[in-house]
Structure formats: C-alpha cells, structure tokens
C-alpha cells in the first residue's frame, strides 16, 4: 500500500521592534543575562501588560501580505503552563480570534509554482532562555538557570494547514516566508540567530484516504538542512511503523542533528491542557479600518510580485525566484545592469555567478564604493563585441573589485583586448606553422586533435590576446590550403 505524508508547519518569527510585546524593555541581542527586564516581563505581582503598537502593525502587515482575512475584533489569551521560562506561569498568545485567518503563500520549486494555505497568523510573546546545569544528559540536570532578556519579545506565529507533502515543499515554504519577513522589514530573518523558528507536524496515511494519520510534532530544527532531513527521517520512521502495524503515538519528538534521528520528547499536550482563557488584563484588540488602511500603506513589493516583474525582463521563474531571495543590493544591481544591457541572461549570470562567486572567494561583503553601476554592462559589452575574451573579463572583474579603476583601463594596461585583425592573426599563424612543421604534417596525416595544440601555441605567443574562435577558423583554413 502506498502511503502519503501530510505536513503542517508552525513558524515563529521574532519581530524586529525596539521594545518587547507588553512592556517597553529594549529587545537586546547580547549574551549578558537579565539586563533588559521590568516587573511586567518577569511577572511581578500587579504589573500590567500594554501592547506594542509597532508589533501589532507588523503582525497585521504579515497577515495582509499573505491574503489573510483580518479579524477586526481580536483577543489575547493566556496559555497556561508551568515551565519557568515564563515566570507569569502563562504565555500571552491568541486562541480563537487571531489577527489573520485563511491566507495563502506562493512558493516556487524549480520552474513550478505552488500554493501553501495558511490557517492563521497570530501574536505570541517569546519565552526566556533556560539552560540546564549538572553533568551529562539533560534529564539528570541539577538546576535550571534562566535569562529573561528574551521573555516577552514579540513573535508572530504562522500556522499552515496540513497541505505540505514533502520536505522540498517545506523548505521552499520557509525560504519564501523568510524572504517575505525581510521584505516587509518586520524581521532580520536570520535563522542562525533564531529569528525564525519552525516546528513540523507530520503524519502518514494511505494514498486516497480522506482522514489524516496520527500527527507527530517535530521540534529543534535549526536550519533548512535540518528541516529537510528531519522531515525525511520522520516520514520514513512513520511509514515503517505503519507497514509493520506498530501504532504511531501522538507526541512531540526532538530532532537530533548529530544522530540524524528524532526521539520522543514528551507526550503531546492537547490544546485543552493549556487551559486557554481570555486575558483579563487586556481588552479586546479592535483593528479599525483606518488602522488596517494605515498598515497597508507600509506594504512593499512582495516577493511574488518581484518574481513577476523580473520575469518580464526575460528571466525564468527559477532565476527570478533566486534573485527575489537575494540581498537587496543584488536585486537593485540586476535591474540597473539589465536596463543598460537589455540582456537578462548575461546580467543574471554575471551577477549571481561570477560577481558573487569572486566576492565570496575574496571575502568581500559589499561592493566597493568605486564600483560603478556601468562596470558590469561595460564588461558584458566588451565580450559581446569580441573585444575581450571571457577569461579576460574575469580578470578585469577581479581587478575592479579590488582596485579603484575601470574595466577599459584594466583591459588596456594588461593588454587584454583581443586581436580581431585577421591579417595580423594570419601572420602569426604562418609563423606558428613554420615553427611546428612536424605537427602540421601529423595533422595532415589525420591527427586532427593536434589542431588544439597549435591554437594553444598561438594563444601563448600572443599572450592570450587573439580571439580564439577566429584563430581556430583561420588556422584550419590555412592548413587546408
């Protein structure tokens, strides 16, 4: 029997506000513990929460950008639990009236588009960080130490419907969501810093079945690579259990990056176990039409629209997708280079290939100040008009990345301009033929491969300045005569 996996993803995005969700403590990025605290975020008696306007704007912006219906009368709920990472003994979240409902996100895999349905977009406050002391395994810790700097930092949680069917789709979804949060300017989107955290709910069921299998939640996936591998592992584990008739238990499992497997963390709480109830400290959240209209004015060009725009220049869907997920300066540079060259393929290849490749190799993070928008178009034009070879163009690029000069100056100073004068090339060919009469004889007796050797000699003698295509053509003609 063939089985079909079903995946839903819950993502928490840390919002890049200056202050926390319910108090005006600064959001800090530091290892120094407990330096940004107040009575509200450490749960002292009598402290009252007041929401951060910017955070509500950001969450509404994300909900609008994913086409969600906005709940005009939202509510804050208390999610009750006793882990010490939130000293209030509850987390302020949203339950049945979140900011946004029923949205959708377009994702791209290779040359295909797909749509991931979003169930809800809501606010949640982050928890403090706990670390466990004692020797060996986490279970044998002797105490838990807490840093509450992160306690109360605003998060937006995005929950998909169970519509994802592979790890590849899951990765494309997270990549899209990450780019969206960066373009909306609501998050830095840095996975390695925990700006984006995701859990996956996975189940398997027989193909064609209308009911979903028992879902298992996977936590602790810190990178796109671990997301992909954890999902693949879990699908395999559940498929094997199903085939062997072993019951799949509803539980939370932990992805172990080193062992490359998931293991039981705890039996899963149902939502009733959190005893959600509306937070009596916080009145209903009314999002007026004026407020929503104001938020809409902040909407940038979304990744989906960016792709559509890029495709009008002649790029494929996958190329447009790669560009739409690149740094802002790369997107801008592409537009400028394309505007001047009207050659989408050359512009794309030079920017995403050679330029970024050389910058990575030389550890250059930003283009130097002198690097003019006209430089790449100039290089592309020099190649197109056969004035320089591709190899010379790469040398020119290296020079202008490290020295304040121009492509034409580099070409001139290093004799990189190609010799396109057929008479001059023929003269050089005649000389090569005279010097290598034995090779010429062997070519004439059928050893065609040796033509390459003569072209090589010619390139060597001319310091690479001869147009190689032209040289080969002329050489063959000469040999025939």
């Amino acid at each position: 029997m063939s089985l079909k996996p079903t995946i839903g993803i819950e993502t928490h995005i840390e919002l890049n506000t200056n202050t926390k969700m319910f108090c005006r403590c600064a959001v800090v990025d530091t290892d120094e513990p407990n330096i940004s605290l107040c009575p509200t975020c450490i749960g002292l008696p009598g402290a009252l929460p007041v929401p951060n306007k910017k955070a509500i704007e950001f969450i509404t912006l994300l909900a609008l950008s994913t086409g969600c219906e906005i709940t005009s009368k939202g509510m804050f709920h208390r999610k009750n639990y006793f882990y010490p990472d939130l000293p209030k003994n509850y987390q302020i979240s949203q339950f049945d009236l979140p900011v946004g409902l029923n949205g959708e996100l377009e994702i791209v895999i290779d040359e295909n588009k797909d749509y991931i349905q979003i169930e809800r977009v809501h606010m949640e406050e982050d928890t403090g960080k706990s670390s466990h002391s004692g020797s060996g395994r986490i279970e044998s810790a002797t105490s838990t130490a807490l840093d509450f700097n992160r306690s109360g930092v605003p998060l937006v949680e995005i929950v998909t419907k169970p519509v994802i069917s592979s790890s590849k789709q899951a990765v494309a979804y997270i990549e899209e969501l990450r780019q969206l949060s960066i373009d909306l300017n609501i998050s830095e989107g840095r996975l390695e810093k925990g700006n984006l955290r995701f859990d996956a709910n996975i189940s398997v069921a027989p193909e064609g079945s209308t009911e979903l299998g028992t879902k298992v939640e996977i936590k602790n996936m810190n990178s796109l690579r671990s997301l992909e591998r954890a999902i693949d592992y879990e699908i395999q584990r559940q498929t094997k259990a199903f085939e062997e008739g072993v019951e799949i238990v509803q539980e939370t499992r932990h992805w172990d990056e080193n062992k490359e497997m998931t293991s039981t963390m705890r039996s899963k709480e149902g939502s009733a176990d959190y005893r959600y109830f509306s937070d009596p400290d916080l009145p209903d959240m009314l999002l007026s039409e004026d407020f929503i209209a104001e938020v809409e004015t902040l909407m940038p060009l979304l990744p989906k629209a960016q792709r559509e725009e890029l495709m009008t220049t002649g790029l494929s869907l996958s190329q447009s997708n790669i560009l739409s997920k690149s740094d802002e300066w790369i997107k801008k540079l592409y537009v400028k280079v394309f505007d001047q060259t009207k050659d989408s393929v050359a512009s794309y290849n030079w920017i995403t290939g050679e330029l970024q490749g050389q910058m990575r190799k030389a550890n250059i993070e930003v283009l130097p100040e002198w690097f003019n928008d006209g430089y790449l178009p100039e290089i592309i034009e020099l190649i197109k008009s056969d004035k320089i070879s591709f190899t010379s163009a790469k040398i020119i690029l290296t020079e202008i990345l490290t020295t304040d000069t121009t492509p034409s100056k580099v070409a001139e100073e290093n004799n990189l301009y190609q010799e396109n004068d057929s008479e001059k090339i023929s003269e050089m060919i005649n000389q090569i033929i005279q010097e290598n009469q034995d090779i010429v004889d062997r070519i004439k007796s059928g050893e065609d491969k040796l033509v390459g050797f003569l072209v090589g000699q010619l390139m060597k003698q001319s310091n690479g300045s001869v147009n190689p295509g032209m040289a080969k053509e002329l050489l063959l003609k000469e040999l025939e005569d």
Binding site: N52, K53, L146
Partner: protein, 96 residues
C-alpha cells in the same frame, strides 16, 4: 472518578499535589460546578447574544509606541531570586 474530567490530570496541570481525600472532595466540587456551567448551554441565545464576550474591562485596548523606557537594573531584577548564578535566576531543574 468523574466521567468528564480526570482530577489527577488537572492536579498535574496545576502543578499541585492532592491526597486521595482531597481528590475525592475536589472531584465532587468540580462536578457540581461543571453541572452548573453546563446549564448555560441550555440557554437559547441568538447569534448576536452569543458574540458577547465577558470581559471585566469595558475599555478600549491602549497601545504604546515602540520606544524604550529604562526599568529595573540587573541587580534590582535579580535581587529577589531565591538563588542566582552568573547573573541568571536559578530554579529547580525543569525541562519541557
């Protein structure tokens, strides 16, 4: 043991220890409360009445601008911690 709830589970969620006796008496109390609350579902309410949320605050939600206000110093914040180490609050071991 009530059919509608598991008193042991509720005690666990509330993080309290209950003796057998307390479990029995609280089960009785909770059953009576549940019965009383269940009576509410017999009320015939129209959709508008159902939409009324009971909220102790009859006021609009106030939002604050995203501007930092200094509050507790590190030493003040941690002064009431039963135990602390390396600037962190230390509590009995607890993990998810």
């Amino acid at each position: 043991m009530s059919d509608e709830f598991n008193i042991k589970n509720i005690a666990k969620l509330a993080s309290i220890n209950l003796s057998e006796e307390e479990q029995d008496s609280l089960s009785n109390d909770l059953s009576i409360i549940l019965e009383h609350v269940n009576a509410l579902s017999d009320l015939k309410l129209n959709s508008q009445q159902q939409e009324i949320f009971i909220h102790p605050l009859e006021k609009e939600l106030e939002l604050q601008d995203d501007e930092v206000v200094e509050s507790l110093t590190h030493d003040e914040a941690i002064s009431n911690a039963p135990e602390s180490k390396d600037g962190k609050f230390v509590v009995p071991p607890s993990m998810e």
